[in-house]
Subunit: 124 residues, 2 copies
DNA sequence: ACGGCATATAACCATGCGGGCATACTGAGC
DNA sequence: GCTCAGTATGCCCGCATGGTTATATGCCGT
């Protein structure tokens, strides 16, 4: 019921989903793999179940959690119209890397290495 | 700098992005379109700028905010390995719609209305 | 220089969320 | 039945976050 956006906001939950993507896992396995407390894992699993992103089955004395990827389609649908945009822009960027664009006022370009002079902030 | 997942967790910010996707807008336009307070919009725009999802340019006395979709690629990349999964499953589902699926233990937490037969709860 | 519009920020408040600890529950085996 | 492994939940805390109101800042026209 809660939209998948909120669920994915937590990095731990993304990790859990990544683990469940490989294969179904029990709570204990997740606890070991993530090296975090068991209640913490259980709580995140609750959120994932409520969001329809995971289901649980009773296996022996433990519970097997399985990924249910369908709700992610909603995220994908939202993302779809944006995909073309950044793809186009990456094309353009590659096409003329030498052209120095005007510097918009917004600081922090995604330059991972090219951090040199902090642009004058609006009001420090 | 903050990962786009957290930024997209807020529905208002998703709306703002959707509006900016059509065309660049000033703060005032966003305020009118969303019918929310101006400081609220400004705060969300700050978050979007910090995440690299929007840039601002000074136009006359107002500011033009423009979408910068590149950071969304990270989200898309995370989503990619899941896409195949739900697509496959939708295929299978369509293929035999008549087969009644087994009811896993996972219940419907807040089943308010359209719930017909409550599946066997863990502890009836 | 001044007034006013457009926007950003500060201060403050309320709520929600993630995490830890302790505890209750469930199911299997004895 | 009891016990134990495995898991879920309750309670509490700290903190980040979103919202509001009031105010500061910036830019333009006069």
């Amino acid at each position: 019921m809660p939209p998948p956006f909120e669920v994915l906001a937590d990095p731990t939950r993304r990790l859990i989903l990544d683990l469940l993507r490989e294969r179904p896992r029990s709570v204990g396995e997740l606890v070991d793999a993530l090296a975090i407390s068991q209640p913490r894992v259980s709580k995140h699993l609750r959120v994932l179940r409520d969001a329809g992103l995971a289901t649980s089955r009773v296996r022996a004395q433990s519970r097997l959690y399985t990924l249910r990827p369908e709700p992610l389609a909603e995220l994908d649908a939202w993302l779809a119209p944006y995909r073309r945009l950044w793809e186009e822009r990456l094309d353009l960027l590659e096409r003329h890397l030498d052209t120095i664009p005007e510097t918009p006022e917004t600081p922090e370009p995604p330059g991972p290495a090219g951090e040199a002079a902090p642009p004058p902030e609006e009001r420090p």
